[in-house]
């Protein structure tokens, strides 16, 4: 029971700070799951990040389902996933209760103010995949550089990044086994 409450509380904190959507949420997820609770090691966090990129859905939901299961089985994954969903819904309801209609000007200003903060979070989201990839050796470092070049030069990979990831996963499975 205690671990279910901890899961709910951790993912609620991730949800509250998840502005900008997607990758900019990574520093919050990493802080909660690696540093604050110790549920994941750095390399496990890398695995969760990798998993979320080759499965459908936002990383926050993917991480919630996986870590919830890891910590407390199916009840854990249900509680964690509900937490990451219900908190934003409550905030949405509260906001639309207070403001009958969101003024376009105010909303734009708010998002402009958030923008450099989200850019900072996004930059921080690079730290974990880069350090783990460097730690994994020369092969993965080379794959990273080639990946950037491929996406810069080849429209196909730029438009379908998951495809690049699946190919990379297969290459990784072959060369590391």
């Amino acid at each position: 029971m205690k671990v279910l409450l901890e899961l709910a509380f951790s993912f609620a904190q991730i949800a509250v700070g998840a502005f900008g959507g997607g990758l900019s949420t990574l520093p919050l997820i990493e802080y909660q799951l690696v540093k604050a609770t110790g549920w994941l090691t750095s390399s496990q966090f890398g695995q969760v990040l990798a998993l979320s990129q080759v499965t459908p859905g936002p990383i926050a939901i993917n991480a919630a389902t996986f870590v919830g299961f890891q910590q407390a089985g199916i009840p854990g994954s249900i509680v964690s996933t509900l937490s990451i969903v219900i908190v934003p819904v409550l905030i949405l309801c509260a906001v639309s209760c207070v403001l009958k209609k969101l003024e376009a000007e105010k909303s734009r200003k708010f998002k402009d103010m958030l923008r450099p903060i989200v850019a900072g979070l996004l930059t921080l989201s690079l730290v974990s995949p880069l350090t783990v990839t460097v730690k994994n050796g020369v092969m993965t470092m080379a794959m990273l550089v080639i990946g950037i070049l491929l996406m810069r030069t080849c429209k196909f990979f730029k438009n379908y990044p998951p495809l690049l990831l699946v190919i990379y996963g297969i290459i990784g499975a072959v060369i590391f086994s």
């Binding site: 998840a18 997607g22 859905g57 930059t123 086994s177």
Partner: protein
Amino acid sequence: MTIFQLFFFFFRISAVTFGGGIVILGMVKLGIADRKDISDAEFSDMLSLAASVPGPLAVSISWLLGRYYRGLKGSMAAVAGAVLPPFLIILILSPIILKYSGTPEVQGFFKGVLAGTGAIITMVVFDNVRSTLSCGWWNIVPFVIVIALIGVFGINPLLSMLAAFLVQLIRERLALR
């Protein structure tokens, strides 16, 4: 849209959208483009509100669109449709991954995917940071504050974001006078 249509509309989109975030907003926009029962203005109000609140964008946009069509029941059906595909997929994969995460094949797969993810995030960060910092010199201040507080001093990201936002509010006040 009926409650069932709402559920399956988001279920379909969510099941094939990798990474979430902005991508899912594009898919939703595409999906309702031909509908006569919602205007562009109403939908862009929803987009604007969805992007102004924290939490996965898939959750906020499905909640708002569900509420627009069918009230509270519509919201719940739409959010359930958006959340179930990633939840079920990770729930099925979690026990398999936890069982085989020690094997060289699975580890190699994740190493490869993570290298590719590093490449993708590098591209996203590069574009985002360049455009954010080029729209005003001031933006570098909150940007650096967030990176320093979280990345260098290891402070809770939520508090760090709050600190940077307070700086933004103070700047806003001073600029008005």
